[in-house]
Structure formats: structure tokens, C-alpha cells
């Protein structure tokens, strides 16, 4: 039985969808040219993960194993389509920004991965929490990578925030240097690969660091002895 804190830690850090499982790279690389794009796709992916995990968990007792994958695909496709239509009806301005990315969620293998690997074997509560935390982990990577590429590529941060949060959010836009010439490579797809590689390297460095410190400490104490 997986505990809540374990599910949380797995989703956000130790089994992060983008940094460890390396799933969902197609939408990740395609949309992270700015923070706001990353945030939008992250939220939509998170909602999809929570809903699809919950539904899969609720029906896990009835699904015959031979047809479970087509059933999961059906569930995910329906959920994404319903999210897209609702967004178009209720949050049209946001839809205009994210609309083209929403269908990309279907191509995110992380969602079917969580349905098969976790939700189909766990009760509703943990399955929904797993969806939320995996989604949150994915969202954080999208936002950080978006920020990295936006700063290097355009020299701004939170550009076009008004499209998501209304005109008041225009104040959020940070222009680091008005004369910044821009760095196209960071905005184009190669920049996404470099950025993601840097983030993965940073995470691995952080995870391995305490071990190294510990070894240093023991080495020092050995010398002093």
C-alpha cells in the first residue's frame, strides 16, 4: 500500500513524469517556449490526469485485461475532448492561447502510463492523488523549462500573462533588458532539448549531492583521526 506522502514525493520528484520517466516529451518540447504556455498546458494535463486516473480506478473491477488498453484510450480521449469543449465554452480567451495544445495531451503517454501502472490497481483516493501529483510534477517542469527558454530566448518572463489571467496580469510581465536581442535557438525546438537536458542533469546532481557530501565528511574525519 502506497502512502500519501510516498505518492506525493513520487509524483513531484523521485518519479517525475518529465525528468525521470521521460514521458510526454512531445507536448513538453512543443509548448514550453514561454512560462504562460507551459503553465496552461500543465494545468490542462493535470486536470486530465486526475479525471482519467479517477475513472480508471472506479472501473478497475470490471475491465477485462485483454481490452483494458483500448478502454483507457477511449476514456482519455473522451476526457480530453470534453475538457477542450468546456474550455472553448467557458474560458474562450484561454482556449485561444492553449487550444492547439489541448489535443496534444492525448499524445502524452504519461497519462495512459499512470492509468495502467497505478490507477488500475488502486482505489479512487490514491489514484486521484497520484494523478494530481504526477500532474503537478509535470506542470512544474513545464513552467521551469518555459521560464528558462523565455529568459534566454526573449529576455522576458510571464509575457502574455494577460491572455490567461486578464488585463490586470499585464503588470506581471518582467522585461529583464529592453535591448536584449533575443536568442532564437532557445525558442526553437533544439532549445527545448538543451533546456530539458540541463534540468535533468540538475536534478540528478541534486539527488547525488548528499551522498558525495557524506563521503567527503567521512574522508575528512578519517584524515583527522
Amino acid at each position: 500500500m502506497t502512502t500519501r506522502s510516498e505518492i506525493t514525493r513520487n509524483g513531484i520528484w523521485s518519479n517525475n513524469v518529465a525528468l525521470v520517466q521521460l514521458l510526454g516529451l512531445c507536448p513538453l518540447l512543443a509548448v514550453t517556449s514561454t512560462v504562460i504556455n507551459g503553465l496552461g498546458l500543465g494545468i490542462a494535463t493535470m486536470i486530465t490526469l486526475v479525471l482519467s486516473n479517477s475513472i480508471v480506478s472506479l472501473i478497475r473491477g470490471f475491465v477485462r485485461s485483454e481490452v483494458r488498453l483500448p478502454v483507457f484510450v477511449l476514456i482519455i480521449a473522451s476526457v480530453v475532448t470534453i475538457i477542450e469543449l468546456s474550455m472553448k465554452a467557458m474560458f474562450f480567451d484561454l482556449y485561444l492561447v492553449l487550444g492547439i495544445f489541448i489535443p496534444l495531451i492525448v499524445t502524452n503517454c504519461a497519462i495512459i502510463g499512470r492509468a495502467e501502472g497505478f490507477a488500475s490497481r488502486n482505489p479512487l483516493g490514491p489514484a486521484a492523488l497520484d494523478g494530481l501529483m504526477m500532474g503537478l510534477g509535470f506542470l512544474s517542469v513545464l513552467v521551469v523549462l518555459g521560464g528558462l527558454r523565455e529568459i534566454i530566448g526573449f529576455g522576458t518572463l510571464f509575457a502574455h500573462a494577460e491572455l490567461m489571467f486578464g488585463d490586470a496580469a499585464k503588470a506581471l510581465v518582467i522585461e529583464i533588458n529592453p535591448d536584449y536581442p533575443g536568442f532564437l535557438l532557445a525558442v526553437l525546438p533544439p532549445g527545448a532539448f538543451f533546456g530539458l537536458a540541463l534540468l535533468i542533469a540538475a536534478k540528478n546532481w541534486f539527488d547525488l549531492r548528499p551522498v558525495a557530501q557524506h563521503q567527503d565528511a567521512s574522508a575528512v574525519s578519517a584524515e583527522t583521526v
Binding site: 475491465v63 478502454v71 477511449l74 473522451s78 474562450f92
Partner: protein
């Protein structure tokens, strides 16, 4: 796996069928309950785009519904029927807004809204959809650069035909640093739209 009975196969098939029906039903219900809100949102967006080209006080008709279907045309760059929106004041034609396409952008088609006053001068041009390079060719968008406003007030005589090109090609319109293809495509498409208007002006405002 070799010993799956026919009964099991039928059961699985029925189960899958059940889910397909349930999923499709849910999507259909959502589609049905959101379609009017979506149509209204899209109408508002269209109005917002049209009013950006034509000041609201210059027209008094419902421009979003006063449309006319235009056959595909090489001058408009279209391959299917498109709508032209007609602005009128007190029943008199004021301007027409065309959906034009520049077919030869750097990354495919650039979709434009081109507003033309009755006298053949440009009310304005806006890019509605494109896939030009971010940071270079995307300066055709108003939120990236004011360049697209350089068309305001231009017509077939202003400048003369030779001036309807980017400066690198000897014309009157600026190109962008590092990007000539996108503005070249837009200039050509706008010029072609004006030619189309000149040849079809009578038909466009017909009821």
C-alpha cells in the same frame, strides 16, 4: 492466451462496445450543451477582429452576419469558398473585409483579414493565423511589431504597382532583420486582395 473461449472474446467485445458508446455519448452531450456558447464566443472573437480594422462608428449593420460567400480565387489565395464581411452605414456600403491567404510564407500559409474601404483604400490588415519563425517572421503579428499597420490607408495607386514589394525587392515596404520571406508574402497577398476588390467591387456589395 491460446485458450480464450469464444464467450470471453464476445464479453470483451461487448465491454469495449459499451465503453465506446458511453464515451461517445458523453462527448456528444457536452458538444450539444456547449455548442451555442462556443458559437457565441467565436462570433464575439470575429467581431473583435473586425472592429479592430473598422472603427465601430463607421458602420451600423451587423457585420458578422452581413456576409457573402466568395468562390475560391487565386488572388485571394483561397482554395475553398470564404466569407467576405460587409460594413454598411444607413444601407450604404462602407467597407469589405476579406479572408485572404498568403500561400508562400516561410512556414506555409499566412491567414489574413484585409479590410478595404469602398474607395479601394485599405482600412487595415491583420494576421489571424500563421506559423512563421518566432522572433523573426512573426513580426507580421500586431502584438509583436507595428509593421502590419504600414498598410493602413494604402491603395492600388498609393504606392504604384512597383512599390508593392519589400524594400529589398525595390518596393516601399520594410522587411524585418533576418526575415524577408514573411513580409514579402504578406505584401503580395494584400496587393492581390486589392486587385481582387478592384475586379469584383460591384458583386461584393450585392445582396
Amino acid at each position: 492466451m491460446s485458450s480464450i473461449s469464444r464467450r470471453q472474446i464476445l464479453m470483451s467485445g461487448a465491454f469495449l462496445w459499451l465503453f465506446a458508446v458511453a464515451g461517445t455519448t458523453l462527448v456528444a452531450v457536452t458538444e450539444y450543451s456547449t455548442s451555442s456558447a462556443i458559437a457565441e464566443n467565436e462570433r464575439q472573437l470575429l467581431l473583435r477582429n473586425l472592429y479592430a480594422l473598422l472603427p465601430r462608428d463607421k458602420l451600423d449593420n451587423d457585420i458578422a452576419t452581413d456576409t457573402h460567400q466568395l468562390a475560391a480565387s487565386t488572388l485571394l489565395g483561397t482554395e475553398t469558398e470564404t466569407s467576405v464581411y460587409r460594413a454598411r452605414q444607413a444601407g450604404e456600403p462602407v467597407a469589405a473585409v476579406f479572408n485572404s491567404i498568403a500561400p508562400n510564407g516561410y512556414s506555409g500559409r499566412i491567414h489574413l483579414l484585409v479590410g478595404v474601404y469602398v474607395d479601394g483604400s485599405l482600412a487595415g490588415v491583420r494576421v489571424v493565423k500563421h506559423a512563421e519563425t518566432p522572433g523573426l517572421g512573426d513580426a507580421v503579428e500586431l502584438r509583436k511589431s507595428p509593421w502590419i499597420k504600414s498598410f493602413d490607408g494604402k491603395s492600388l495607386d498609393n504606392p504604384q504597382t512597383s512599390g508593392w514589394a519589400v524594400k529589398r525587392d525595390g518596393g516601399d515596404f520594410d522587411q524585418f532583420t533576418g526575415a524577408t520571406i514573411s513580409p514579402r508574402a504578406v505584401v503580395k497577398a494584400v496587393h492581390n486582395t486589392l486587385l481582387y476588390y478592384q475586379q469584383n467591387a460591384d458583386m461584393i456589395f450585392d445582396q
